[in-house]
Symmetry: C2
Subunit: 355 residues, 2 copies
């Protein structure tokens, strides 16, 4: 008999299609609630083509409204903000956050477009990706171009969006596999994004590990910096010189998914091969419902304007019922399996099933 975690993942896949549902139009609140109940994603192609943002957001328009505003920009060597980085010295893994700077939006957008029009990689990778309700704060000038809420979600969930986030970047940025405690409505304005999705029950596949934390920082490092062990930096046009990872030895280790569904043979667990990642590409004007607790990895391609731009709405998850408790239980059993020595399984009596 297979172990319980294997049974769980197999049963889940037997009961659920390995594709993302595609809806013809935005769902009613009730139809949406059925997807929330099932904790299953869907995509609505061309759902947001009537948004002013979809019709108006080219580089000139954005520069006109936002050009002189200082915005926070994440800078990394490889487009790997909030990502797992391997030490060159000892193969250990570190969870690395980006170097962050403030710069005028116009200059930021220049860099993005310049990197997109270049045939060779130029400089560090920049990404406007502050997930702190930035469209209602930093980018408030752009807020009138999007709905203040997604009506079907607001009605179904009985709440307003907790955050509205704007994302602007180039081809090189990817978001590593992770999960959020939010119901997520993700809307693609410019360019395309490729999502790779894993359900919460596939937690045993993602090789979650407790990693030390680090952050990209310009060279030379500050005097009080901890061990420096990786240098992927180059000079770029932002005034930032070489970047290197500085380890934060004082920070508490953080659980991070280290398996990459695009490199499925690396950093595997005993269950990784059971994963059935769902893949969906969001094109300009498309909408994705990404349910609470789903793992997602995101990569992107710029559109004609030379940048990628998306807006997402986060709604608080419900922790009522058994979903959250069940996901924690999967994690607990997984961790217990990691600790358990491999004794042969004993059979007792004649009454165990399938024995």
């Amino acid at each position: 008999m297979a172990d319980p975690l294997t049974n769980l993942i197999r049963t889940y896949h037997e009961l659920n299609a390995a594709v993302v549902d595609e809806l013809d139009e935005q769902p009613s609140a009730l139809e949406f609630m059925r997807h929330v109940a099932a904790n299953r994603p869907f995509v609505v192609p061309r759902a947001i083509r009537d948004w002013p943002a979809f019709q108006k957001w080219d580089a000139n328009y954005l520069r006109h409204l936002m050009g002189r505003e200082e915005v926070k920009v994440a800078i990394t060597s490889l487009g790997n903000a909030d990502a797992v980085v391997e030490s060159k010295e000892d193969d250990s893994l570190v969870f690395v956050e980006p170097y962050e700077v403030f710069e005028p939006f116009g200059e930021f957008l220049d860099s993005i477009q310049r990197s997109s029009s270049s045939t060779t990689e130029v400089g560090h990778v920049k990404y406007a990706q502050t997930q702190n309700d930035n469209l209602r704060h930093e980018y408030a000038s752009l807020l009138p171009d999007v709905p203040t809420d997604i009506p079907f979600a607001r009605i179904a969930l009985g709440q307003n969006a907790d955050a509205i986030n704007l994302w602007i970047g180039d081809d090189r940025s990817t978001t590593a596999l992770h999960k959020d405690n939010y119901e997520n409505i993700y809307c693609q304005i410019r360019g395309e994004k490729d999502f790779v999705l894993l359900s919460p029950v596939e937690m045993p596949c993602v090789n979650e590990q407790l990693l030390a934390r680090g952050r990209y920082a310009p060279v030379p490092p500050a005097a009080d910096a901890a061990t420096t062990f990786y240098d992927g930096g180059k000079y770029d046009d932002s005034g930032v010189e070489a970047l290197e990872v500085q380890l934060d030895s004082d920070a508490e280790r953080v659980p991070v998914a280290t398996w990459d569904p695009d490199e499925p043979e690396k950093r595997t667990t005993a269950w990784s091969s059971l994963a059935k990642p769902l893949r969906v590409t969001l094109r300009e004007g498309d909408m994705l419902y990404l349910p609470c607790f789903w793992y997602h990895k995101v990569s992107q391609r710029v559109g004609d304007e030379g940048f990628v731009c998306a807006v997402n709405y986060w709604y608080d998850c419900s922790f009522e019922g058994s979903s959250f408790a069940s996901h924690s239980f999967v994690r607990d059993v997984y961790l217990a399996e990691q600790r358990r020595p491999e004794y042969p399984e004993l059979k007792v009596g004649g009454e165990t099933e399938g024995g």
Copy 2:
């Protein structure tokens, strides 16, 4: 660190109140879908007082419409249809189904009322409890007095009721703790019912065991009957003589919850003490939503008319998403724990949590 099953049950109770929600009126389809999503019960007092059934179903009316119709009646010694019975000989447990007879509804109702008006127990216990859509078949004469569907459930779930069941009995019948693969809307017409409810994650508490099957049968047993090991029978007024349990040695064993939340110290598992049973009394005119996969035990008291009468609507469960897979997983882990010898837990490395 507590074992994963203990953590699961505790986390569930931390996130969910140990009471049944009470609504002021029937929910909208969307409000109902939120309860379905959370897999949480609710009660709506006085919800069905406008039903013709609530206004008209007294003994005379039922006799007038149904008196000569032959109906199927379950007969037991102790009101224990579909229940766990202890062998007098060897303490083993058997899952016992009732003896079933057909009799004219008028005679059945006479027995029920007679037993209710008696101060001492009289004869066997009868219960009209065929859960086979009987209100649209056996009792079709009464169907016009109830809605053909529960509108909020039909709209929310996008389906018609799979079955509508009528239940008529006296004080002595109880329904032992069990679960159904149905969304259940339970409507009390006459008398009262006490429900004891346990969520699906409390499966480790209910001491599920694989039991042999038996059935009550009149004495003397048929010539080919298997071992007779329990005799709780008395003479009664139905023409049935003493009843005794006949074991069906050929039948496959069936998994049955053997823990009784009303006798919480008996037949316990290591997790039974963590259960927090929800208790709710349905009075005449009340409605209960009993979600898929919830364990429930039901006892009852007759009303002024000398019988208990209820109608329930079953809607198919959704097996999409992770709920069903997660419940199966709890069961798998529970069964694996039963088989596992108690080796001391080893600690490896320094990175396990709470180690």
